[in-house]
Amino acid sequence: MSDFLRRFGAWCVAFVEELGRITLFAARILRAVVTPPPRLRPFLDEIYNLGVLSLVIICVCGGAVGMVLALQGYDTLVRFGAEESLGAVIGLSLIRELGPVLTALLTTGRAGSATAAEIGAMVRTEQLDGLRMMSIDPMHLVVTPKALAMIAVMPLLSALFIVSGLAGGYAVGVGLKGVDAGAYWSSLEANVVFRDDIVGSFLKAGVFGVIVGLVSTYRGFTCTPTATGVSRATTSTVVVSSVAVLIADYFITALWGS
């Protein structure tokens, strides 16, 4: 029992230390944001890498989720004679929950892991040390544009996911199941509340962007400079980001809803 407590205590201490380190890392990013010169070009490059290159996967997954929601939702609603509310069910599911959460998970897998691997590879091949020796702060040139780009693209990708989902739901609900097109859109319009739903959705996506951006850059920047170290950084980025997104989702939903 005492051995278990000792190990649990050590784990808790290590966890708190890691939280402290990641908080300091976030502070360094914030300081780099306000330190001139602004890194507009690297930021735009990262918007392209993280955002534009994720468009296809976001659209495809959003459409597929919307189509599944339409199938499941229609079968349930039709039992209560409420199939005209299909648009509201799909819309609210996507806007409130599935859009930001699934976008964050997909982006973690595609862009977050790539970010950690890229920075980790730069650590391993001494590229970041090379920048330091040229008196260029790698936090300023490499890390901060990637983290900021992740924060910027997440709400936009989430919005795209939601729109794709609504389109997929429309295709199945209206095209396949015969729900009235006007009823689909009007039920959606009538039930979506701007502050609670739209603003809350963007808030979630923004927070998830912070989480994924911070975790992926931190894991890459602090990885052991070996092939295994880079591999571990990439894996832990996906695991830690995904778990953190789901936990944060609960708290944002609870706090914003109340």
């Binding site: 730069m122 590229q127 040390d129 090379g130 330091r132 020796m133 040229m134 008196s135 260029i136 702060d137």
Partner: protein, 270 residues
């Protein structure tokens, strides 16, 4: 031969101790690197040659001791203040450390864009001059992944010199290269030193090149430094030093077919 740092040296290591994961790499290293000369840090694998260069650049900090670069103890300044010291240092990394998302041209242009107020036209001219000096005039559009080992070394050398540093750190510039490339890099380093007067610190285990180019040798033995000119080390009574230098020579004869330095270009460097 001596194990003491000289007072007038450009770079001084004074009683430096450093261990990685409990394994002592440097055990009270004391040595000095004279201004404007070529100093070669010689030693076996894992002896701490690269570590000394990284200590001088402030990339690692010792457990104890001082590393003084041009009068500044780099162990005593904050990371942010190290950049003022690094402005005077150029470093050629063993693997090049070129940014693999940038072309050769942009790798050289980056420090110029960051630290000078030169126009883009001036930067283009400077980069092309630097690339021509290392024999890479036709490689500016290539990415690092498209370069050979020798080309990577020469690009890294050109980048390290593009801001005209007072001190040039070269980490294993001859490793992994064929004999012709070794001589080409060796010739470049000698000409850079002769024409620019740069204080040059080269880590190497290539004994023949070291004997040809070094003004001073710092030989790392058991975590400590033995310093002297090539002739002084040759005259040493220490059997380990003899064994290292003789074996290195023998190894060099197998991989290196001559003693003369191949000059890649005849025009002035940079």
């Amino acid at each position: 031969m001596t194990a003491e740092p000289e007072a007038a040296a450009h770079v001084v290591l004074d009683d430096v101790h450093l261990a990685f994961a409990g394994r002592a790499v440097l055990r009270g290293v004391r040595c000095g690197f004279p201004r404007g000369k070529i100093s070669v840090i010689l030693g076996g694998s894992g002896a701490g040659k690269t570590t000394i260069l990284r200590l001088i650049g402030g990339l690692v900090r010792p457990q104890s001791g001082r590393v003084v670069v041009d009068g500044v103890d780099v162990c005593a300044v904050r990371e942010a203040d190290l950049y003022a010291v690094r402005d005077r240092i150029g470093m050629m990394f063993q693997g090049g450390a070129l940014l693999d998302s940038l072309t050769v041209f942009d790798n050289l242009a980056l420090p110029l864009r960051e630290h000078t107020r030169r126009s883009e036209g001036e930067i283009v001219a400077e980069v092309r001059r630097s690339l021509a000096a290392v024999g890479l005039a036709d490689a500016e559009a290539l990415l690092p992944g498209q370069l050979s080992g020798g080309m990577i070394k020469r690009t890294a050398l050109a980048r390290a010199l593009v801001l005209r540093p007072e001190i040039l750190l070269c980490d294993e510039p001859f490793s992994g290269l064929d004999p012709i490339s070794v001589k080409r890099i060796e010739g470049l380093l000698c000409r850079i030193n002769a024409e620019l007067g740069v204080t040059m610190l080269v880590s190497s285990h290539h004994v023949r090149s070291t004997m040809r180019m070094a003004d001073r040798i710092v030989l790392l033995v058991g975590g400590r430094a033995v310093t002297g000119t090539p002739a002084q080390l040759r005259a040493s009574d220490d059997p380990w030093i003899h064994e290292f230098l003789d074996d290195g020579d023998a190894e060099g004869r197998l991989s290196d077919d001559g003693g003369e330095v191949l000059e890649p270009e005849t025009r002035p460097i940079l």
